[in-house]
């Protein structure tokens, strides 16, 4: 109300709200070494736990002798399945409806399986004692191939012997877990039988691992005086962990406090519940002291949740002009020794049924058979919504194979089959309702930016030059167009262990006009403390700099299902906006009282309420916050707080168009990425700087998976890639600079139109890198070759095609 009042633009800028490239509030701590990760938790009298793990992939455990270990000074306890059995904690339920041994109960099913848990005064003594535990094993035949498992007489899961019904229906064989079918197989087959063109391909999406830089770990502290258990851990879903801990331990849920401190990357690895968490809890209950367990890198790669391992067989039909008429997909899914897949309960193969991709395909069928083998359990979504990377890789390879079959340009084939803008909301043949999209605009923008025609002309010249012997480098143009399905999920469809997949936000406005908001999610590097404050700033007119965001402490945060599957912005972000609107609604009443007008006569304006038609009469949010605490306003409770639990009406469907240009040296098999262009449409953009960072990171994880990263086993079930010497994590030296771009197609059902972005680049990136490698050889007759395309495999491809002759 004076001349110094900043104008509307300045006031908007001061909020640092939606759309602003706000610098991260997290960074001050992290850049000064003041992060607080689980291994930084140090409590008085804390003990350290370490596992005795099986060197065999399949063996009977005949006996365990703890004596020598217990005799070592400093060793406090050695736990085995026998010790956990009276508490009924020697097995635990998995997220997929199966159960998993916490400690080996009679046998082991994969190399690295947890056999005994040693607890000692420090980590060195614990490690020494692990060596002193004598385990007598009797080796059993090892099966690492799911197709062999389905033929074999060897029963891997003796505990399930005779059970013909699993959590997801009938089991066909003693090593079979489930069959999951979606779509109409008869109608699909009929279309295939009469189709003008049918392309078939089998592909293996290899087993890999999310491998965040921080491994998994926990610190359990049982306070026997107060009966309270506090559990710090690397949990992407702390509230669910609390509920599971209550159900398993019998400790009432109000007496359990779960804290996810700073998490050093998750990428899906920290969704599940691992034996180490359970053992640290039991050990703390048994010893009465805090117990820390932090796995090392080899343990992380060998025993915690892997990703992918899908054997996919596809059939795609089309007219001669390239209009797709049907899609058939069958997957043999290798789940390892236990089905510990981290998917919503009703989706044993996750959202693999998004495999019709971005295309208008009238009829489709998907069948998935889950199988046990002697490999580590898991099946997590590594930087993707549930199994979406597999689905998108499948369809984007099938498109390329169909293009070869039709002798057509793969970009054009995509274009003529995209779901059209006017078809949204679009119901796909396998059931999902895509909320919004404008694929043609995105595709045209991408192709134009990279000069697609120019690239193809250059490639054709290169092929000729190669044939003339003037170069030994081929050129590949990798394309991919992806549609993600994220933001699980409507509670009616999606739950984790019975907990509906809603999310939440609780806001308290302080008297002096700053605020704290707490959410049911947990950042693992995504920058929630920065971006959720931006959403709220725009909704309630308080600067993001005056809003603290807190997550990960179940004693203070409202219940939520956590952060994975790009669900934080679509679900908790929506809860944040809606809780903010509740604050605003009450603020409007307070403003009307302060301005002595009717509620309907004031309107929200950036950071204040103004009297309609008289903007010089206003009450700022700061004034309103103070009034909420110091004035007796008739008919209103004091205070200014709100909570919102958000059950999304649908998933969100971010999409994108990627192009990779690659040169490949046929004599060394070394690929060189010349250019990578990534256009992402994640709907409304909250913080462009963070979006760009997420895209860079997701693409780099895609590069890793496509070009070399795998969890490989030998025939005896030995893990061949158990350290970072063998397990490929790209360094700054191998990674290119990426060009990022965007279109904006807001989600029509999300309160702020945001769709989520963290995982899109991984989902779209893997097929793009792979297609680039394979496209380089298309002119020489390559139809399909499996990832990972490491130098040796690329060299072999060139060799098989006679390019070394």
């Amino acid at each position: 109300m004076n001349d110094l009042t900043p104008n509307r633009e300045e006031r908007t800028a001061n909020l640092k709200g939606m759309g602003c490239a706000r610098k991260r509030v997290e960074d001050a701590r992290f850049t000064q070494g003041q992060g607080n990760y689980v291994d930084d938790v140090k409590l008085p009298g804390m003990l350290h736990g370490d596992f005795v793990r099986s060197p065999y992939a399949h063996a009977r455990v005949k006996s365990i002798n703890k004596e020598a270990a217990l005799a070592l000074p400093g060793v406090v306890a050695v736990l085995t399945a026998e010790d956990l059995a009276p508490l009924n904690l020697h097995w635990m339920p998995t997220l997929a409806g199966d159960k998993q041994m916490v400690l080996a109960d009679g046998k082991v099913l994969f190399q690295g399986q947890e056999v005994a848990f040693v607890v000692a005064n420090d980590r060195y003594i614990a490690a020494d004692a692990v060596e002193l535990v004598e385990v007598d094993y009797e080796e059993l035949p090892v099966i690492t191939d799911p197709f062999e498992a389905l033929q074999s007489d060897v029963v891997l899961r003796e505990d399930l012997a005779g059970q013909t019904e699993g959590a997801h229906g009938p089991r066909k064989h003693h090593n079979h877990i489930f069959t999951w079918e979606q779509g109409d197989e008869a109608a699909t087959n009929q279309v295939m039988d009469s189709a003008e063109v049918v392309a078939e391909e089998s592909m293996y999406y290899h087993r890999t691992h999310p491998c965040p830089l921080e491994t998994c770990g926990s610190v359990a502290s049982m306070d026997k005086v107060n009966g309270k258990l506090t559990l710090w851990g690397t949990f992407q879903a702390p509230h669910v962990v609390r509920t599971v801990a209550a159900l398993l331990s019998g400790i009432e849920e109000h007496n359990i406090r779960v804290i996810s401190p700073d998490i050093g990357g998750g990428f899906g690895n920290k969704v599940g519940v691992y034996p180490g968490y359970i053992c640290s809890i039991v050990a703390s209950i048994v010893t009465g002291k805090p117990v820390k367990w932090v796995e090392d890198r080899m343990e992380n790669l060998m025993s915690t949740a892997f990703a992918r391992d899908y054997w996919m067989k596809g059939k795609i039909s089309a007219t001669k002009e390239g209009k797709i008429t049907g899609l058939h997909c069958h997957v043999t899914a290798d789940h390892g020794g236990f089905d510990a897949c981290a998917d919503p309960t009703k989706f044993p193969a996750g959202f693999m049924n998004i495999c019709t991709g971005s295309y208008d395909i009238p009829v489709a069928y998907l069948g998935v058979d889950g199988v046990y083998t002697n490999k580590a359990p898991g099946g997590v979504s590594y930087r993707c919504s549930f199994r979406v990377t597999e689905a998108v890789y499948f369809i984007e390879r099938m498109i390329e194979v169909l293009a070869i079959e039709l002798d057509m340009d793969a970009a054009e084939l995509r274009r003529i089959n995209f779901i059209k803008k006017e078809q949204f909301p679009y119901t796909a043949a396998l059931g999902w309702e895509y909320d919004s999209g404008d694929y043609h605009t995105a595709w045209d923008k991408a192709l134009k930016t990279v000069d697609y025609e120019g690239l193809r002309a250059e490639q054709a010249e290169r092929v000729e030059a190669f044939k003339r012997g003037e170069t030994r480098k081929l050129m590949g143009v990798g394309l991919s167009f992806f549609t993600e399905i994220v933001g699980a999920g409507p509670v009616k469809n999606c739950d984790i262990l019975g907990m509906g997949m809603f999310d939440s936000c609780e806001i308290r406005i302080h008297p002096t006009g700053s605020a704290i908001a707490r959410l049911g999610t947990i950042s693992q590097g995504q920058g929630h403390a920065t971006t959720f404050a931006q959403i709220l700033a725009s909704e309630i007119g308080i600067s993001a700099d005056s809003i603290t965001i807190e997550e990960g402490d179940t004693d203070t945060a409202p219940y939520g299902l956590g952060t994975y599957g790009s669900r934080s912005t679509p679900v908790a972000g929506a809860a944040t906006a809606l809780a903010g609107r509740k604050i605003r609604a009450k603020a409007q009443m307070i403003a009307a009282y302060l301005l002595e007008v009717h509620d309907d006569d004031v309107e929200f304006d950036v950071d204040r309420f103004v009297v309609k038609g008289a903007p010089e009469r206003f009450s700022t949010m700061k004034d309103i916050a103070y009034a909420a605490y110091n004035q007796a306003i008739p008919g209103l409770e004091p205070g200014l707080e709100a909570v919102s639990y958000y059950d999304p009406p649908n998933m969100t469907y971010p999409f994108g168009a990627y192009v990779c240009v690659m040169d490949i040296d046929v004599d060394t098999g070394v690929p060189e990425i010349r250019r990578f262009y990534a256009l992402d449409d994640c709907g409304t953009r909250i913080n462009p700087m963070i979006i760009e960072g997420q895209v860079h990171g997701g693409l780099t994880e895609a590069l890793a998976v496509a070009l070399g990263q795998e969890i490989a086993y030998d025939d005896l079930g030995n893990v061949k890639t158990g350290t970072l010497m063998d397990f490929f994590l790209p360094t700054a030296w191998e990674v290119p600079n990426y060009e990022t771009d965007f279109t904006v197609t807001p989600s029509p059902h999300h309160p702020i139109g945001a769709k989520g972005v963290g995982e899109s680049p991984h989902v779209g990136g893997v097929p793009c890198f792979s297609n680039a490698v394979q496209d380089a050889f298309r002119a020489f007759g390559l139809r399909h070759t499996n990832m990972p395309h490491d130098h040796w495999r690329i060299w072999q491809t060139a060799n098989k095609l006679g390019l070394h002759d």
Partner: protein, 169 residues
């Protein structure tokens, strides 16, 4: 225990003394005896660089050195690079250019980058990518890390020139 060694280190300019088994890795000695938790353990095999410290003027992966070997050394960790009131240029630059996400690699990354810029104050992008190849980041894809370091180099050169001018005056 009788086999413990009397260790003397200078850490971030401060003399520190403690008893440790000589087989203890330097990273655990820093983290657990001295509560210096900036450096992290990421891989145990000296690939990831999350544990990087500067030891007697060289970048060292503290997960691959016994504390016994480090006895007497002068060590700088990320905690010793700047103060909350006077951040190191790299600490500012990583924030400015979004050179970090989960933050787990960041202390090692910044410590290594500080040494790199000491060794080569005017690096090219290629120099930075090669010089940082011993530090793995799983979140950022490195693009913004490289940008942060190059920007810090510019900034440091700028301010040094400024100081030179000041001194000349």
């Amino acid at each position: 225990m009788s086999d413990k060694m009397h260790i003397k280190l200078t850490v971030n300019g401060e003399g520190r003394e403690f008893l440790a088994e000589p087989r203890e890795l330097l990273i655990y000695a820093l983290r657990e005896h001295l509560n210096i938790t900036g450096p992290h353990v990421g891989c145990d095999t000296s690939h990831c660089g999350a544990c990087t410290v500067t030891l007697n003027g060289k970048s060292v992966k503290s997960c691959t050195m016994f504390v016994g070997q480090a006895n007497g050394a002068d060590i700088t960790t990320v905690e010793g690079l700047g103060t909350p009131d006077a951040l190191h240029v790299l600490q500012e630059s990583f924030r400015e250019h979004h050179g970090l996400q989960c933050g787990f690699c960041t202390p090692g990354m910044i410590t290594r980058a500080a040494k790199l810029l000491e060794e080569n104050p005017t690096p090219t992008e290629e120099d930075v990518r090669f010089g940082m190849a011993g530090n793995i980041c799983r979140c950022t894809g490195y693009q913004n890390i490289v940008k942060s370091i190059l920007a810090a180099a510019d900034e440091m050169n700028g301010s040094e020139q400024g100081q030179t001018v000041e001194a000349a005056e």
